[in-house]
């Protein structure tokens, strides 16, 4: 039994917001794979939960008329990875969230929860950073939009007020059309693990050689997920060569700020950043139709 003091079910986002408004101590539960574990660990007790688990409007994945991809924050990882829209237009996101935990966790954990945790190792986050994803947040005063990069404030801290709910994740057409990518999750084991380092590269390739656009995003390379903007600028417009690959590895490590923890040392993570950004770049380049 979990140490839950109060439990309310919201039937809609509006209702959830209202419930949040009247109870400053309430917290949201969506998939549960985060909240319930914290309860088990004793990190939270006497929890007052508002469940948004059953809200259908949060689970949709669809394409807007203007080509924007919309992913409901309540969509589970397996719903995301198995969805035809994801598979067709942004397969790399599907691949990334398909590396979260194991199958049962992916059936319950939600992509919105993954983001709202604010942890740097979230498998979905670095990929969404690369896609310049925008977040739709609903609150008592209406809806606001925020780029995902601004949403992360620090480890475990996100720009979400108590009475607000992350409702959807949006990816604009100009951010995915023409792009292919590759995500590498480096962890101690191949399932049921959190990333020691997550690395994603998105490429837009012209004529098999020229890199029209290049994006490199990393998880666990800093306290929050990050983009290597400096490196990206240097790569845009260049012709793919092995030398460029090496350069990317070297440039990337200049931009990062990983930490030493009992899981891995800073030096080792830097080594991984250098190596994996090269590997992800090569594969993303190939996926984008590049010729080696």
């Amino acid at each position: 039994m979990y140490d839950i003091a109060k439990y309310e079910e919201a039937g809609s986002v509006q209702e959830a917001i209202e419930l949040l408004l009247v109870n400053p101590n309430a917290m949201l539960i969506s998939g549960g794979s985060d909240v319930l574990i914290k309860l088990h660990e004793g990190k939270i007790h006497d929890a007052q939960l508002i469940s948004i688990h059953g809200i259908a409007e949060l689970k949709g994945i669809f394409l807007k008329e203007d080509g924007t991809i919309v992913i409901g924050s309540g969509a589970s990882f397996s719903q995301v990875s198995k969805h035809p829209i994801v598979q067709q237009y942004i397969p790399v996101l599907g691949e990334a969230v398909d590396m979260v935990g194991g199958p049962q966790i992916r059936n319950i954990g939600s992509i919105g929860g993954n983001i709202c945790n604010g942890v740097t190792s979230a498998d979905s986050a670095s990929t969404l950073f690369a896609f310049n994803a925008k977040l739709e947040i609903q609150g008592p005063d209406g809806v606001r939009y925020i780029p995902i990069a601004d949403f992360y404030k620090g480890p475990g801290k996100v720009d979400l007020r108590h009475e607000e709910i992350l409702t959807t994740i949006l990816i604009a057409p100009e951010d995915y059309q023409g792009y292919s990518g590759h995500y590498i999750k480096y962890a101690m084991r191949n399932a049921m693990d959190i990333a020691t380092l997550g690395c994603v590269v998105l490429c837009n390739v012209e004529g098999g050689k020229k890199i029209k656009d290049f994006r490199l995003a990393l998880g666990v390379a800093a306290p929050i997920p990050m983009r290597c903007k400096g490196t990206e600028e240097q790569v845009k417009g260049r012709i793919f060569t092995e030398a460029l690959l090496e350069e990317v590895g070297k440039m990337a490590i200049e931009e990062v700020n990983p930490r030493t923890s009992w899981r891995a040392s800073k030096e080792f993570r830097i080594q991984l950043i250098q190596e994996l950004s090269k590997r992800a770049f090569r594969q993303a380049f190939i996926n984008a139709g590049g010729e080696l």
Binding site: M1, Y2, D3, G42, H45, G102, Y186, M188, R189, N190, A191, M192, D193, I194, T196, W262, R263, A264, S265, E267, F268, Q271, L272, Q274, E275, L276
Partner: protein, 760 residues
């Protein structure tokens, strides 16, 4: 009909695939109460003050007990037979609850409540003040002159022992080369999928009944008796199916406390179930060791002298005490030959979780060092590492002068030849060019030798009881416990074989109940097929003889002319059937004059031991820039004597190898070095391999015949977990030229090594 040597499906398989097999937590007692332990949040110190009043006042709380409420005498916990010689008794160094805190998570108080959540919430209301000392986490710190004694009067040393054979100094002087190396092994946990759990109540006759997930019900009964200070017979232990043990349940962890707690609540049932986090730190772990090897070799590649110094980090309580380090000394002698040899081992207390038995009892640790050291010597001398090992290995007929253990069968050389073949050693070695790229492949191997049971160090008692039922079927009861390894199935095969009936006619009572089941010290030391198997054989032979004698009475055909074949009494000379076993059975129950049901109740006191051998061959690939090792191929080849059930035997090897792969590459318990707080005591942060991390595991056997065994068989439960780690280490050396001296060989460690050696 022959049963031994056949691939019978597990007799408990049906129940298990249906989810019908019942484990401790699957029993429901009316009005069960739930207990939770208050654990210390420091690693070393004293409880100065404790206030339980708020917890006691909480609705739903039945009782709160602290160290002040429990018996003052100390008790031991190791799953060893009792010794009448006080010198050889296990170290009694703990109370049910403690005021002296010896590890992070030590057990200070406990709450008994109507449900688990209430108990947990009550724990939060307990207030404790500590006097805190610096935690002692390493053996070096523990052995410092000024170190605080974790157990008074011990100087933090549980025991030091040594042995010496031959003139060591002379032998070293005679050696042409001398090699010295040091190795370190890490602390790991068994991670049986079922956590430690037990519940207890006082029955209508005043007995304290404990239902527990234990490998050693009879020993458990005695230790509950000792801990509570009650006559041992007043405790009754019942062991249902258990979800794995691997040695952590060869120790008494939850049972005495839960038995005590039921007495506090007037015999109401109380359950104490560890969470996974508790199982990690409060049950048992495998010892971290430090080994120093010194070896003298002559120009011909013969080992002349060997020396070992071992220090074992035993954690906060003695548990199995010095036995595991001492087992390292014994096994140090068995595999290889020399002129003179010396060993010394010390077991030390620290403020870490208590180390106890774990699959291999010290031998995975020492073999990691020994077989890595052997590899390095061979390579240094430009000798073929395999030939170097075989040239120096002990042969059939070898007798350990100190224990008297004799190798009456030894299939090591054949195992090695088979392993070499399976992996394509020679072909791959010839084709190998020196890798310099990002991915480098390497081959490695390692050998092992392992005892079967504990004789002559421990008493080896095993009981078996057989009853011939009215229809000619039999019921077999053993004191040895099925813990997943398949012992019930092979016992059924043994009984069927020896009596001369089909296995369908045998039913094994799987559960042990100390009030009903014959005495047996339990499941450990790879002893069951050998020691308990002999008890089964003796009981089956007795049944067989009694049946034939009874048939003699019925038919007037001398028993000496008869045998039992497939459930029929038949003539030996031509197999002609005389009458069915079912007829004899029915008569034995209902003949108005001669009725006397046929039973046998046998105890085997084994006074022999047998050495099992084997090796691992492995090919790996190292991804240099990411410092990751992938196992491409691995083969474990075993001489376990004759196999009773080949399919189950292979399955044992799969599991053991997998555990050893984890030991080699993934697993390690970590602690905050300032506070002693566990960092990864859960299954997310402690890296058990998943399906996606596990390579194909190749297994093969060389079947020798062990004459001292009931059916030619030798140890198999633990041996598979021994040699993979050094084999992988040697393969990494082969691939990269880098020698690793510590497990696990995980990416962080490899990265540091590659940096240090300029490979990155």
């Amino acid at each position: 009909m022959q049963s031994v040597g056949k691939n019978f499906p597990r007799i408990d398989g049906f129940a298990k695939v249906c989810g019908k097999a019942k484990y401790v937590d699957d029993f429901f007692e009316k009005d069960m109460l739930y207990a939770k332990i208050y654990r210390s949040t420091i690693a070393n110190g004293w409880v100065k003050k404790i206030d339980i009043s708020k917890a006691k006042a909480m609705p739903g709380v039945e009782a709160v007990i602290t160290f002040e409420d429990v018996p003052k005498h100390m008790f031991p916990t190791a799953g060893h037979p009792y010794s009448k010689d006080p010198e050889h008794q296990d170290v009694a160094d703990r109370n049910l609850l403690t005021q002296r805190v010896r590890l992070y998570g030590d057990e200070i108080a406990a709450v008994i409540a109507v449900d688990e959540l209430t108990a947990e919430k009550a724990l939060r209301l307990i207030e404790v003040e500590y006097e805190e000392y610096l935690p002692i986490l390493t053996v070096e710190d523990s052995l410092k002159e000024e170190a605080i004694e974790i157990h008074e009067g011990t100087k933090n040393i549980i025991k030091t022992t040594d042995f010496s054979l031959g003139e060591l100094e002379e032998a070293f002087a005679e050696s042409d080369y001398i090699f010295e190396d040091e190795f370190i092994t890490s602390m790991v946990q068994h991670c049986a999928m079922e956590n430690h759990s037990a519940y207890s109540y006082i029955d209508e006759n005043g007995k304290i009944v404990v239902v527990s997930s234990t490998q050693i019900p009879h020993i458990c009964r005695r230790i509950i008796g000792q801990a509570l200070g009650i006559p041992w017979g007043r405790a009754r232990v019942i062991k249902p199916y258990i979800g794995g043990g691997f040695g952590s349940k060869q120790d008494i962890v939850v049972e005495p406390l839960v038995a005590f707690m039921t007495t506090v609540v007037h015999g109401k049932p109380v359950k104490l179930e560890f969470t996974r986090e508790e199982t990690f730190i409060a049950s048992r772990v495998r010892h971290a060791f430090k080994f120093k090897f010194k070896t003298g070799v002559n120009k011909e590649g013969k080992i002349i002298a060997r020396e070992l110094t071992a220090i074992s980090n035993n954690g906060a309580y003695a548990s199995h005490g010095h036995s595991i380090a001492s087992n390292c000394l014994t096994k140090f002698r068995h595999l290889y030959d020399q002129k003179a040899i010396r060993g010394e081992a010390t077991t030390v207390y620290t403020n870490l979780p208590t180390a106890g038995a774990m699959r291999g009892y010290g031998i995975p640790q020492i073999t990691f060092g020994l077989e890595s050291h052997m590899e390095d010597i061979a390579r240094e001398l430009k000798l073929d590492p395999i030939e170097f090992r075989l040239k120096n290995s002990n042969q059939e007929g070898y007798i350990d002068p100190l224990s008297g253990i004799c190798a009456r069968s030894n299939g090591l050389a054949e195992c090695v030849a088979t392993g070499k073949d399976l992996i394509g050693w020679d072909r791959k070695k010839t084709n190998k060019s020196k890798d310099t790229g990002a991915k480098r492949r390497g081959l490695g191997m390692a050998c092992f030798c392992y005892k079967t049971g504990t004789y002559p160090f421990g008493l080896e008692l095993a009981g078996a009881r057989i009853v011939l039922n009215q229809d000619g079927s039999i019921q077999l009861q053993v004191g040895a416990t099925e813990i997943g390894q398949g012992s019930d199935t092979v016992f059924a095969q043994m009984a069927a074989e020896t009596i001369g009936i089909s296995i369908e006619m045998v039913s094994v009572v799987s559960s042990q109940d100390t009030d009903i089941t014959p005495f047996d010290t339990g499941s450990y030391a790879s002893r069951q097929t050998y020691v308990s198997g002999m008890a089964v054989k003796k009981a089956a032979e007795e049944i067989r003889m009694k049946v034939l004698n009874y048939a003699w009475g019925m038919t007037d055909i001398p028993a000496s002319a008869l045998t039992i074949i497939d459930g029929w009494i038949a003539y030996i000379h031509n197999g002609e059937r005389v009458l069915s076993l079912a007829d004899v059975a029915l008569d034995s129950y209902y003949d108005t004059v001669f009725a006397a049901p046929i039973t046998a109740d046998v105890t085997n006191n084994a006074r022999t031991n047998a050495l099992a051998y084997g090796c691992t061959f492995v090919e790996i690939e190292v991804d240099m820039p990411t410092a990751k090792v992938e196992v491409l191929e691995i083969y474990n080849v075993h001489d376990a004597g004759r196999l009773i059930n080949p399919k189950l035997a292979h399955a044992q090897v799969h599991g053991g190898v997998s555990m050893a792969l984890g030991y080699a590459l993934y697993e390690q318990m970590l602690f905050d070095c300032k506070t002693g707080r566990p960092l990864n005591s859960n299954l997310l942060d402690y890296k058990l391999m998943t399906t996606l991390d596990t390579p194909e595991i190749g297994t093969a056997f060389i079947e020798t015949y062990e004459p001292t065994a009931p059916y030619g068989n030798k140890a198999l439960g633990e041996p598979p977990a021994i040699s993979p780690a050094p084999a992988i280490r040697n393969a990494i050396y082969d691939a990269t030229g880098v020698k690793i001296y510590e497990v696990p060989m995980n990416p962080q460690r490899l990265f540091e090594k590659f940096k240090e050696t300029g490979l990155l």
